[in-house]
């Protein structure tokens, strides 16, 4: 894999944005339920950076979290997150960014962006919930939690995530335009 300097800095900066996004609501919304925008941001990573850099930036995000920076939801972080059953969601962001990026690359209509975003959400839920089910089953060595129950837990955040996903698709286009206006980061030639 060959990286230009701009590739490195963009992916790193997006990983930092993701870290902000995972806890942004905890210092904005007081007295409400803190929601995490990680899925939203990982979809944006795919839409804005493309498949390759999007996946790289999500990998960097997962790594700095495991290295101990409190960048995961609820300011958690550290190697011990790996033992938690929800670790699959963190891993799924890499796949989400990659697939979303692949779908949206070379397309820039609103419908294709929203379509890509929804596919991203499906991957996030599918991968994360399966991981959660199998990880817990293995760690706790018990069959007491059924596959259905694991999915039932995921119904609660679903409506909020669908709204967020669609707005990610819409917002990505706007962000792209705004970023393009003042920087050259999306130009292939200007920065070698």
């Amino acid at each position: 894999m060959k990286f230009r300097a701009i590739d490195l800095t963009m992916s790193a900066m997006f990983a930092a944005l993701m870290a902000i996004g995972s806890n942004i609501t905890s210092f904005l919304i007081v007295g409400g339920v803190p929601i995490t925008l990680t899925t939203f941001f990982s979809i944006l990573a795919g839409l804005l950076l493309g498949s390759r850099l999007g996946a790289v930036s999500m990998t960097v995000y997962a790594l700095i979290g495991l290295a101990g920076a409190p960048v995961f939801a609820n300011f958690s972080g550290g190697l011990s997150v790996m033992v938690s059953p929800t670790f699959g969601f963190i891993l799924s962001y890499i796949l989400v960014a990659f697939v979303v990026g692949k779908i949206a690359e070379n397309r820039s209509s609103r419908t294709s962006f929203i379509f890509a975003a929804i596919v991203g959400l499906i991957i996030n839920y599918g991968f994360g919930t399966n991981w959660m089910y199998f990880a817990y089953k293995w760690l706790a060595s018990t069959d007491a939690i059924s596959y259905k129950l694991a999915w039932t837990w995921m119904i609660v955040p679903l409506p909020k995530d669908i709204i967020l996903t669609i707005s990610a698709g819409v917002l990505a286009l706007r962000l792209r335009k705004n970023i393009h206006k003042i920087t050259n980061v999306f130009d292939k030639e200007t920065i070698a």
Partner: protein, 265 residues
């Protein structure tokens, strides 16, 4: 809060464990995590627990800090224990709670599995309690160095991690600044239905993203201007060195492993 974000859960001290090379700590934890699953008798669990608790004591970190690292998973540990009590039906009936039988096998298994959970989490959180994220990044870079042969971008990943860690506090301040600026224009993040709140985040995100990408561009230009050409021939500010205490740590861990294999059935 910004400070906490840079150093993570790291608690500064000058204990033996803090002074160990981060690579030593990562290697030992890696093998510990694997070998936890080998324990299958009471004494073998005791050996591992002794090692984990002994290490925790050696860090000289106050108990509340260590417990804080465990809080997100306390629930899982207790939940797993209770689940085993209710579900497992092996061995004899020990006693009854409201005429519900509790089996001896259930208690044994519940304790073993919860203890395993606890050990895994304790040991892994000791790494991040005694090592800064930047030290871990350096360690990962040198540990994964052999992967360069198969063209895995080890240096690039480590560099991105460092850049990212460096810019999280900056972007955090930026977020605060923008949210205040938008609040003064009447954007309300705190009240109203969920849909409105999500919409209120948009005028926050657009300037945040634009400024983050602007920074990325400036940083890339600065790197190019200084002749950045990848990891080849780059020297390091922080050199990692294996010292005597690292060798001692490996020997101690080796003894624990021998103890584990002698005591397991």
């Amino acid at each position: 809060m910004n400070h906490a974000l840079i150093i993570g859960q790291y608690v500064p001290s000058n204990s033996v464990i803090h002074r160990l090379d981060p690579r030593t700590k990562i290697a030992i934890i890696f093998f510990f995590v694997i070998f936890v699953f080998f324990a299958n008798t009471l004494t073998s669990y005791a050996v591992l627990t002794l090692f984990a608790v002994g290490t925790a004591v050696a860090t000289k970190i106050k108990l509340p800090y260590i417990l804080k690292g465990l809080t997100p998973v306390w629930f899982l540990i207790v939940f797993t224990f209770v689940l085993h009590l209710v579900v497992t039906k092996e061995g004899e009936v020990l006693f009854r709670i409201l005429s519900y039988p509790i089996y001896s096998g259930a208690v044994e298994q519940g304790i073993a599995i919860s203890l395993r959970f606890f050990l895994l989490i304790l040991v892994t959180s000791l790494l991040t309690l005694t090592t800064t994220p930047i030290e871990i990044t350096d360690a990962i870079e040198t540990l994964l160095n052999p992967l360069k042969k198969i063209k895995f971008p080890v240096h690039e990943l480590a560099l991105m991690m460092s850049i990212s860690l460096r810019f999280i506090p900056t972007l955090m301040q930026e977020t605060e600044k923008i949210s205040k600026a938008q609040a003064s224009r009447g954007v309300d993040f705190r009240t109203g239905p969920m849909k409105d709140r999500i919409q209120a985040i948009v005028p926050l995100l657009v300037p945040l993203f634009v400024s983050a990408f602007k920074r990325a561009e400036e940083l890339a230009m600065a790197m190019e201007a200084r002749g950045y050409q990848g990891g080849e021939g780059r020297t390091k500010l922080r050199e990692l060195r294996i010292e005597k205490i690292d060798i001692l740590a490996f020997i101690t861990f080796g003894i624990v492993l021998i103890g584990l294999f002698l005591t397991r059935a």
